[in-house]
Amino acid sequence: MTSPDAGLGAWLADLEGSVEEIATTALGLPGMTVDRRHEAPPQLHGAYLGLVGPAGAVQIGLASSAEGCQALAKGLMGMGPDDAPLPEGEMADAVCEIINIVAGAFKARVRDRASALQMGLPVFIQGAVQATDRVAVRVAEVRLGAVAAAVLLIHPRPGAEG
């Protein structure tokens, strides 16, 4: 894995590209747009998954409002917006599966500069990720169709690994 900071813009771009790819092919939500990028973790619901390599680790996340997560989950399940909401556990499971698929696409995109990345198991979290002295969060606010969402890259701050 390349050192943090130097390639982080490229990492976030690859993550955004992976989300767009999966939103288009698996969720039926083509045409992702990026509204803005920043480093303030949002208070949202979302799924997160760790990727660990020989030179470090990152976490990737996809978060949205409760309604947005329902829309993403329904998209994966091939359901329409008028279908009854999924039970909360099934919604969380589906959003976790989305980030799992995104992680696979992300791994493929960064393979040339980060081989041997190992994927962890996804978790669903309600609330904001807390940035610390050791960990920073990069956020891209995106629109997947009509769904407002956030793409998150959580990474060690330079010099904080180990």
Partner: protein
């Protein structure tokens, strides 16, 4: 024909089963397991005709399941339906005896193209 679908995600098990039916295999009966360890018990008790397993799962991964089965001499047909597409993992899967490796996301048609040769 009976297919054992192994994935820790209920959503993905549903998607796999639906895609198999949409691929034209209406008469298939499905059994589900949430990880490799659970699948191993089911296979030992009553081997299905085909196992379609995720790779990354808690307790026992898909590749650990496959290696365990082959070490026991169990030659049940098995392949992977996974978000992993790493060439080294594909090599490991096929060297270990996997018959196919489908990358998520997939369509019923792309799934059919891969599983048709083993659906006999």
């Amino acid at each position: 024909m009976q297919i054992l679908v192994v994935d820790d995600s209920k959503a993905m098990r549903s998607i796999v089963m639906r895609a198999v039916r949409q691929a034209g295999y209406d008469a298939v009966a499905f059994v589900e397991a949430t990880n490799g360890a659970e699948a191993l018990k089911l296979i030992r008790a009553a081997p299905p005709d085909l196992v379609m397993a995720d790779w990354n799962m808690p307790e026992m991964s898909g590749i650990e399941l496959l290696k365990t089965l082959r070490a026991e001499g169990n030659q049940v047909k098995m392949g992977f339906v996974t978000s992993e597409s790493d060439p080294a993992m594909r090599d490991l899967a096929f060297q270990s005896g996997a018959l196919f490796m489908v990358t998520k996301p997939f369509t019923p048609d792309s799934l059919k193209a891969v599983i048709a040769p083993v659906m006999t």
